[in-house]
Amino acid sequence: VTWNLRRHRSLIRSCLTATTSADKGKALEDFLEYMFGEFGGVTVQHRDLRAPAQELDLVLYNDQLEQFFKSASAEIIVEAKNWATPVGAPEVNWFLDKMRQRGVTHGFLVAANGVTGQTLDRGDGAIDALYQVLQYGMRPVVLTLDDLSAIRSQAELLVLFKRRSCALFAKRLL
């Protein structure tokens, strides 16, 4: 394991300081490629994969070694949204469609500022779309840059993934 906190933070800083849309997107993908690729048993298979009718930011191959990943599907897709605003239901639904089309049960949506629609405010937002797909055995995990900035080790990352996964069972993001 070569995961390094300084590198982790430096890549997050790049996500926050990028100015153009292209740079922001690239910075977040760089960060996620590093973050996921450093887990034992997880390999970044593709980046910016252009499949028919869809583009996938990252495709991970999972050997199911680490705690969270033991329960996850062999293929995991990662969507990166380095947006200044929360990601809305249409984009979340598109991400969930990609998961469905590839037949993967586990996917990460990393949205710099989260997704819209907390159940507490009765919003009809992205959280509802995420909750609905649980019934099909899908386990989407939503992460924000704030979440990832607070991380200090890979063990904390694994706990974060588990917590986010469980939160959705209670129709919550946190």
């Binding site: 906190l5 649980l134 099909y136 209670a170």
Partner: protein, 333 residues
């Protein structure tokens, strides 16, 4: 024994441990402070050092104190092999010696090693902590090394086995208490539910590899707890997370309750759910459990007083659940 003593509370410990891993050091004594970063550093790196044949000794505060100082100090999620506490982590992964500082009101710390105890006052601890923060300075390291060695006498017989026995006893005691409550719940209806939930929580926390992830918020959607089964890919393949419902009825659990659990599980796409009940299931409810596996592909694992009576330890409960899961799997074929 005092050779190669290195002490640090600075940083997350990774730097120090990597340095040791890359060197020829074969013996390492650590003073582990109550910091989350350090806990995580230990969790990720000590096993690798132990594999390289480095004998590691850890001097650390009592886990109860750790629990106060850091919210996740006792959280099994931090540790490999689902250890219940950092004690377990060190004991299971490091063939070394664990020294512990116990906290006491009148004398804040008590260093206990084998049958010897040393009272340590706050000023002494404060004196230790100040220079530790300057670990990067060689002079402070040397001064601290000398100070610690004199104060704590870091030459002791191996007490790892005694610590293991003590912890195992505590875990077993918590498990037994939980079983007693579940098997003989309070007659007062108002208290039954709360008591059963507390006992179920204690029971779940005692099971190896089971981590309780959520309690109250999950009630909104019909379950009492959510657990994460770290052993998911081995003998107890449940999928994750696993919703848990606790029933403290005075009568037997009927088929309606099982059908309700099945519906909730389907809504969440849960492969497996766990029902912990203070009473047995009716025959119709037992049939509903089989039908849920056979017709809906939902495995409802049931722990009742009868099942628990067969299980003398947390490991036995886990074996019982594995057997039940296997039986449900066969019925669903």
């Amino acid at each position: 024994v005092r050779a190669n003593l290195k002490i640090s509370t600075w940083g997350d410990g990774e730097h120090l441990l990597r340095e040791v891993a890359a060197s020829a050091v074969k013996r390492l004594d650590l003073l582990a402070p109550p910091s989350r970063r350090w806990t995580l550093g230990l969790a990720s790196l000590l096993p690798a050092l132990a594999d390289k044949g480095v004998l590691i000794r850890v001097l650390m505060p009592d886990p109860d104190y750790l629990g106060e100082a850091l919210p996740y100090g006792r959280h099994p999620a931090w540790f490999p092999e689902a250890a219940e506490s950092i004690d377990d982590l060190i004991r299971t992964s490091v063939p070394g010696l664990l020294l512990r500082l116990h906290r006491r009101a009148e004398a804040p710390f008590l260093l206990a090693v084998d049958d010897r105890e040393f009272l340590v006052s706050w000023p002494a601890i404060a004196t230790i902590q100040a220079p530790i923060l300057q670990i990067t300075q060689g002079r402070a390291t040397r001064a601290l090394t000398a100070y610690i060695s004199n104060l704590f006498e870091l030459i002791f017989a191996d007490s790892a086995e005694a610590v293991a026995a003590d912890d195992s006893h505590r875990s077993q005691a918590a498990f037994t208490r939980a079983l007693e409550v579940l098997e003989r719940p309070s007659a007062a209806t108002a208290r039954r539910g709360a008591q059963a939930e507390a006992a179920a929580l204690a029971l779940l926390e005692s099971l190896p590899g089971f981590e309780v992830m959520r309690t109250s918020p999950i009630k909104d959607v019909g379950f009492d707890f959510l657990i994460w089964n770290a052993e998911d890919s081995t003998q107890l393949r449940t999928g994750n997370p696993v919703p848990v419902q606790v029933k403290a009825y005075s009568r037997r659990v009927g088929s309606d309750a099982i059908k309700q659990i099945q519906a909730l599980a389907k809504r969440l796409g849960a492969q497996t759910t766990l029902l912990i009940s203070a009473t047995e299931l009716t025959r119709a409810a037992q049939e509903a459990v089989s039908a849920a596996a056979r017709e809906a592909g939902v495995a409802i694992l049931v722990l009742t007083p009868a099942g628990l009576a067969e299980s003398a330890s947390p490991q036995a409960v886990q074996a019982y659940l594995s057997k039940e899961l296997e039986l449900l799997g066969r019925r669903s074929l």
